[in-house]
Amino acid sequence: LSWVADASDEVSKDGKITVAVASNFLSTMKQLVHIYQQDTGRVVLLSGGSTGKHYAQIIHGAPFDVFFAADAIRPKLLEDKHIGVKGSRFTYAEGSLVIWSPEILKSKTHDSISLDHKALAALLASRDIKTLAMANPKLAPYGKATQDVINALSPEGLLSRGNHKMRVIQGENISQTFQFVMSGTADLAFLAHSQVLDRNITGIQKERYKVISEHYRVIPNALHQPIRQQAIRLNNKELTRLFVKFIKGPVAKSIIESNGYNIVGVTDAG
């Protein structure tokens, strides 16, 4: 077995690591771990969950080795509290926001990948849009970015558009927002780029998923603060380091990118 080859003391003693991953990155991480395990034979256990929960758990001694957060705040806090390893914090992915709506086909720029400022504003102002789905800006980085976008487009706020009422439904996280869309009740949604990339969805939701993956546009990064997802090591174990090294490596990068994330490529030790 390959992992025996580069075994240090620690590696042989404790053959696996546990990684806390933000829900929105979980499926990408599964692909990464799959490859990592195939290549090295080392076992990586994944614990998906919301970043808020993971943070609370880590503070209270959860046995995680690495924490892949959905934002930059929580890793920073851990670093400051000396729970995370100082200097091990880095941005593993930068999310990009997309807007989804069946209305998009009607807009003139339907063949381009992203919408410009004006088209977005027009879309938001459309009277056909009754329900807008977004992630909770308080909880989810994508929600916060969505808020930025909306503020940029209509500074006076969404709900005050005359007597045209739009319901804003908020998901606990970006995954839930996606589920709102799945149900067909939302007319417009801000989603993560990673969610709308076609993947092999099978079964009854296939049709629905097709509708989703054909009606989105990427939102220009300039309209919101970057959605930086950071990770931090929680110990100095050899296995932990090896895994982080893999995530920072080129193989991982290409996978992450193919899942709709931007890679900044800079270890943010700031």
Binding site: S50, G52, K53, Y55, A56, T131, A133, N136, K138, L139, R167, V168, I169, Q170, G171, E172, Q176, Q179, F180, M182, S183, G184, T185, R208
Partner: protein, 224 residues
């Protein structure tokens, strides 16, 4: 002090809990009675099915409800043809979700209670001129008061804390579907722990007082 948003969430929660519990008690009564009395061989299937929503994680149940109630879902499309627009992300939808999810906590205690009714007293009531419905209301129900208490308390408390389903099909809309459990959850997630403690404390106090009153009043009416 609680801010307006919290108060509104609290009120919404109480409204939801009262409404769901009332609906549950009303709907479950004939159902539980029927389950108790029927000799139908297949009733075990129904009994098992009532408990099933419980075994799914609430968010997942919520997800399925979301799909079912959506315009393309089996329930949603029926509603649409009836001219009712989707119930997702509405208060009515929340009520439906809560009712489905808390159903076993009401049906089961009632069924248990009804299985204890004294057949002979029902017979006596019949000879005194009481029709089956009359007997049911004048003998069976008063004799299972304690069962209604159990059912009501469990249903009510569960609806108060119920969260996954509500989050999913409610969409966290202030004044409409943002119940207090979601508000507390939001606080915890966004590390606003003191607000979370405060709101939790308030919810606990209110619930405690309500439960206490319920139980205390129960103690008094007991026959000496």
């Amino acid at each position: 002090m609680l801010d307006d948003a919290s108060i509104s969430a609290l009120l919404l929660t109480l409204k939801l809990a009262f409404l769901s519990t009332s609906i549950l008690l009303v709907v479950s009564t004939p159902f539980a009675w029927w389950l108790t009395k029927t000799k139908w061989k297949g009733k075990g299937i129904l009994e098992a099915m009532v408990a099933l929503p419980l075994v799914l994680p609430p968010t997942v149940l919520g997800f399925y409800l979301l799909l079912a109630l959506g315009p393309n879902g089996p329930l949603g499309s029926v509603l649409t043809t009836l001219g009712i627009s989707s119930l997702n992300f509405t208060f009515a939808g929340l009520v439906i979700g809560s009712v489905i999810y808390s159903m076993p906590f009401v049906v089961q205690p009632l069924q248990h209670a009804f299985s204890q009714t004294d057949k002979r007293q029902m017979d006596a009531a019949a000879t005194l001129g009481a029709s089956p419905l009359d007997r049911f209301f004048s003998i069976a129900i008063p004799q299972v008061k304690r069962g209604y208490l159990t059912a009501g308390v469990l249903g009510f408390a569960h609806t108060l804390g119920e969260f996954g389903v509500v989050l999913m099909i409610g969409g966290n809309i202030p004044d409409e579907t943002r119940v207090v459990s979601i508000a507390i959850y939001d606080h915890v997630e966004s590390m606003e722990y003191s607000q979370a403690h405060y709101l939790s404390g308030t919810l606990l106090c209110i619930s405690f007082v309500m439960l206490l009153i319920t139980y205390m009043s129960q103690q008094k009416v007991k026959p000496s």
